[in-house]
Amino acid sequence: MGFLAPYVLVLAIFVVVPVIIGFGIGLRPQIYRELLADPVFATAAKNTFIYVIVSVNATMVIALILSGFFSLQKRWIGLLLVLFILPWAAPSIPTILSFRVMLNAETGVINQQLFQLFGIMEGPAWLTNANLAFVMAIIVHIWKSLPFWTLTLLTGRLAISGDLYEAASVDGASIWQKFRYITWPSLAKLYMTSTILSAIWTLGDFNSIYLLTGGGPADQTQVLATLGVKYVSNSRLDLGIASILIALPIILPLVVVMMRRLSGGREE
């Protein structure tokens, strides 16, 4: 039992107690009335939904395709994989701020080049048009998370026996048929697990939005994770906690499904 004591302590003091405190603050019904009255909350809730659905599925589909590319047994592709992991290995602050500078409507390299090369005075409003800014945040999120999921699916692909593919080639199967009848059946479960896990993490993605758009223009790109922190910075801790608790009905089922999938392994 003594072996467990350190983690039990850490868990109790720094996870369980904060969660209890959070519920203690978040259980007053009138905060929710105030929260729902804030139009930014509705925007953030809608954005969070779109953000998760779009970026998770886009990431996973691209990762699925790229994992096929990287599973080709060529030396230069192996080297490319090493490079490809860079966005995952690098910290968020400098890389996302690099995107932010790059996409600035006046001083960013893209619009400056459009002006210098083609004389376009007003290039695309990458971060100042709410919709475009939101798309950019999704792209940054994909940039950051793609390597991890590609690697995960790649590991899954490499676990599939090569004999199956060889036999299929002998039978004259097309690339699509190989994918449809060999790869996908073996990967489907991993793909679903990854999608759920990615959805949970994307719900909590603070950096991509905060560092790229700061929630702007005019709070139009806020998501729940950034809105909660914004409330705290405005000395409204209670609203911050409420904006998170209100998302629990969506998160908890996902978490429960994941826990079943991840911990059920041995019993199955």
Binding site: G2, F3, A5, P6, A37, N104, A105, E106, T107, F115, M121, E122, A125, L127, T128, A130, T213, G214, G215, G216, P217, A218, D219, Q220, K230, V232, S233, N234, S235, L237
Partner: protein, 453 residues
């Protein structure tokens, strides 16, 4: 093994928590922009330590961090002995005074009342609901007000000079949008005439919007601080102010990205000469070039360029006249500091305050901000420093015309409007969601009613 872990944890905890003893004065102070500011303040602290044989635990925080931290500290009752933050006055101090969280500093301030400008004193006299009276719950330090910065060489490129700038509000903006910018564009330059901040959460946006509100005589409260949100003239004047403010963006004479601008951005765009003029509180924009002109990290060439910018190319001008062509009295933000009721060493804190507020200690610190803070003490206001060059002189002149206090000094509840950034929110609706100005004004008034109950 468990003991080892507890030991490691305990060592980590002890190593970084400083436990304040009775003899230690805890000060939370705003981190300055220039290294010289922090040095000047630390000098005052050092001298105080030496003269009194006490220890001082000084923490310097970024202004916005200070808001978060001090809010948490007030809630948890773990306050420092003295706190000063550039934004505390605008955002929090009025409420703290109202809620009886602050120590009455009358015994420190009253004996030296005569040394301060009256506006600075009145901004430090705050209402405490418990006692039902106004008293010195804060100490005056410095202030900031609105000034206009202009690149004169870019004006010359556009074929005009500062003498051509009309004074009346609408004519003034028309000059920038319809004359200066097209002239520069005709020469193939990708320059915007105006740099106007609109970002939610930017204190610059709040500050500049108030000038638009004043230009159209928006009156949110009466003389006694009573809100007049239902007054029929308010909706009309707010609509005009919002239309004028957002009109600059819609006419394309401020950069597209200004809808996102936070506090650094209007400065940055001026520095990189992407805009010809901007409104800014304080003269930190020319101050940057002055600082660069002696910055040892820069090449001699760059230093000379910076000095040329400061002396010859950049000018500080008063804001234009209002819509009725009357001189516009700008709002001045007084930046006070406080001692809390819950502070552990109140007597020592007051002793430090008395020490700090002496001319020989305070004035060098204020002057080290290079105009970022305008002094509250008459000796400093009247000193040769403020006549020593054209930017300082012009800024001093704006104060001498007379300034207006912010509404939240009359009624602290209005500070919620600035905290929430309601002005930038209303402007954002016009700029990103195609609201008409009167529609945005209606929702703005509803917001104000909700926040100021």
């Amino acid at each position: 093994m468990r003991n080892i872990i507890l030991g490691v944890t305990a060592a980590a905890l002890l190593g970084s928590t400083s436990i304040a003893s009775a003899e230690t004065l805890t000060i939370w102070w705003s981190k300055g922009f220039y290294a010289g500011e922090d040095v000047a303040f630390k000098n005052v602290v050092e001298r105080f330590k030496k003269e009194n044989g006490v220890d001082v635990d000084l923490s310097l925080y970024q202004a916005s961090d200070m808001n978060v931290k001090s809010t948490a500290a007030v809630e948890a009752g773990t306050v420092p002995d003295i706190a000063y933050g550039d934004q505390l006055g605008v955002k929090l101090i009025g409420k703290w005074a109202y809620d009886d969280k602050l120590e009455d500093l009358s015994d420190v301030i009253e004996p030296i009342e005569g040394e301060f400008a009256p506006e600075a004193l009145s901004a430090a006299k705050l209402f405490d609901e418990k006692s039902g009276e106004r008293s010195y719950y804060a100490f005056p330090l410095g202030s900031q007000t609105l000034a206009t910065m202009v690149w004169t060489d870019l004006l010359t490129d556009a074929g005009v000079s500062t003498d051509d700038i009309p004074q009346q509000w609408e004519a003034y903006w028309s000059f920038w949008c319809d004359k200066v910018q097209p002239a520069l564009r005709a020469k193939g330059k990708r320059i915007y005439a105006v740099g106007m901040p609109y970002g939610i959460g930017s204190s610059d946006a709040t500050n500049v919007f108030m000038a638009f509100a004043d230009a159209y005589n928006v009156r949110l409260v009466d003389e006694n601080g009573k809100p007049r949100f239902d007054a029929p003239d308010l909706r009309e004047s707010l609509t005009k102010a919002l239309a004028s403010y957002t009109g600059l963006y819609q006419r394309g004479c401020t950069p597209p990205s200004s809808v996102n601008w936070q506090d650094p951005d209007n400065n940055q765009y001026m520095h990189s000469r992407q805009t010809v003029m901007t409104f800014n509180y304080s003269i930190s924009i020319p101050g940057k070039w002055l600082d660069d002109s002696t910055n040892p990290n820069l090449s001699k060439d760059d230093q000379a360029k910076a000095l040329d910018n400061y002396q010859n190319k950049l000018v500080t001008l008063p804001p234009p006249h209002d819509a009725a062509d009357q001189p516009l009295k700008t709002r001045a933000t007084y930046l006070p500091g406080v001692i809390f009721k819950d502070s552990k060493n109140k007597e020592l804190a007051k002793k430090f305050l008395t020490f700090l507020l002496k001319d020989e200690n305070l004035n060098p610190y204020i002057d080290a901000t290079k105009g970022r803070l305008f002094p509250s003490k008459k000796t400093d206001i009247d000193s040769a420093f403020w006549q020593s060059d054209k930017h300082l002189k012009a800024y001093h002149g704006i104060y001498m015309v007379g300034t207006e206090p912010w509404d939240y000094t009359r009624n602290y509840k209005l500070s919620a409007l600035n905290n929430e950034g309601v002005w930038a929110k209303a402007a954002g609706k016009i700029l990103t969601q195609n609201y008409a100005p009167d529609q945005a004004a209606d929702e703005l008034i509803a917001d104000m009613k909700r926040l100021v109950q």
